[in-house]
């Protein structure tokens, strides 16, 4: 939630000479995205987002991320289309950083998603899972079980300061996850961070999915489990069964889950809650107060994790037949 790098109009005009987007009319640093610097541009041909990739993003991953957006947009998924430069490339450089220009999507992210929004995000997620079938690139998920273990090694010594008893709880989670984490489910490229702030709506219509910078190859059902955690809980941390039912029905209306995926959903949702709890806990303990990076309270996901440990069957999320 910050602009890390400012750019001059001269730098920007030189950068845009490589693109066929018409005269630059304005650019504003926007307070969105926690990993990169983002600018909203108006040019003679419309509105664009310029992203400067800061050091938390590996430049070697950019062809995967931008190629994925390009692939999805061309398949009709509502996501930003990377603008190609005159030489065909989609990655340029400005202010010493790799940078890309993507189309601007109108729409607002829902601070308070409704049941309808949950259904629509389920449909869109399934649509993406179908659309990536022929995407040729792949990227391992650095934040799967082994990655979580590294985060936990860093956070564990001070975890009980944040929440008494957390060390014992999470050690037990790791023991169960190591024994029971599924590996033989349908997999492909997943979004891996489909939180409400990454999905735009115009009224009830989903107008855009953004921020593919955690996308990677992993289990499709794990992506859906992340959405259960991200979309179907209320501010008081209570699970909303109506929203869960809508999300899962929306997903299955486009891509029905296999029996094995349904069985695995509680374990996947528990793992996903652990993953987001761990990154938040790690940042909470390591980022100095007052830094520009926004720190999210790990407590929300400690609560999610405790909820997910109790779930025995996906029917408790509202899963019906496809």
């Amino acid at each position: 939630m910050a602009v890390y790098t400012d750019i001059t109009e001269g730098e920007l005009e030189a950068f845009l000479k490589n693109y066929d987007v018409g005269q630059l009319l304005s650019y504003k640093g926007i307070a969105e995205g926690s990993e990169n610097s983002n600018f909203l541009l108006h040019t003679a041909s419309g509105a664009y987002i310029l992203t400067l990739y800061e050091k938390r993003v590996d430049a070697a991953d950019l062809p995967f991320f931008l190629g994925l957006m390009d692939h999805l947009a061309r398949k009709g998924i509502n996501c930003p289309l990377p603008v190609h430069r005159r030489d065909g490339a989609v990655i340029g450089k400005i202010a010493g950083r790799p940078a890309a220009l993507i189309t601007f999507l109108e729409g607002m992210w829902m601070r308070r998603p409704t049941v309808t929004h949950c259904r629509e995000v389920g449909k869109a997620l399934a649509g993406m899972h179908l659309a990536v079938a022929d995407f040729p690139l792949s990227r391992p998920n650095a934040l799967s079980v082994e990655g979580w273990r590294k985060l936990w090694d860093g956070a564990r010594p001070r975890a009980d300061e944040v929440e008494p008893g957390l060390v014992a709880e999470v050690d037990a989670d790791f023991a169960e996850l190591s024994a029971r984490w599924p590996s033989d489910l349908p997999s492909g490229v997943i979004h891996a961070d489909l939180f409400p702030d990454n999905v735009f709506f115009l009224g009830d219509r989903l107008s855009g999915v953004i921020d593919f910078y955690f996308a990677c190859n992993d289990l499709y059902a794990y992506d859906l489990a992340t959405c259960l955690n991200a979309w179907c809980f209320e501010k008081d941390h209570a699970f909303n069964l109506t929203k869960g039912t809508a999300l899962l029905a929306g997903y299955q209306s486009v891509r029905p889950l296999t029996a094995a995926e349904k069985d695995a959903l509680p374990m996947l949702a528990r793992g996903s809650a652990l993953r987001f709890m761990l990154t938040r806990l790690y940042d909470w303990l390591t980022i100095p107060d007052g830094a520009l990076v926004q720190k999210r309270d790990p407590f929300e996901y400690i609560r999610r994790l405790r909820f997910q440990r109790q779930i025995r069957s996906a029917s408790e999320y509202g899963l019906g037949e496809a």
Copy 2:
């Protein structure tokens, strides 16, 4: 340079029901303006800026600020036009804060203004000084000599920590300013903060003047003196005589200075340098590190102040005949 207050799409849609601007399409918090929260909105009828006034702005001053923009825009000055609500008001409320919607101006602020930009800003400033002649409201300048003294009282005990010798230098400035500060020069409403980040250009054409939240009644020539400090020095703190000449010639091409104004210009420029040095010094000493408010280094204006103390005649700025 921060968004202090986030708003939900529900709050914003309710707020916009009072305005005739068409359907909301998107809104983004933008990283501009150091005093308020600003959002760039797209609606079916175009682009707008929504400003939420945070506590550093006195709500009682808003009719003056917004009335001034309205007055200037209707006189043909390139500045934002406050959008009137259906009930005629220009000030609404959102997220518990007073808020206004103003038209969005295309253009970029110049991180490195050229001689041409200096000439154009001079012309625009003079145009504003003519256009306010029949503006009916007034607002005293809280940051004139007496206001500076209060800032200095707060900063003085620790000023020598920031720059050794500063206490003696500034005490001498106050002695001279008290004896020689002019009061009988042409006066009216001034912008009072016309720095490069408050002026937009499209190429060489000035497309917008923004941020009237320091506007007040004071000497016109003091406004011009502030522009000399803000526009005509290079990054190495050297005064650029060509830029000074262009700024002053641009101003005088629209509103010739009186002989008394010309004589007073060095003292006004010294006072203006002191004013900006003091607010920066005060913030430097009082705002905690890591706060969201951007702190500007006072040293730039310590250098300006030292320069201005040496000036004996406005011809040293490049002032020619009108």
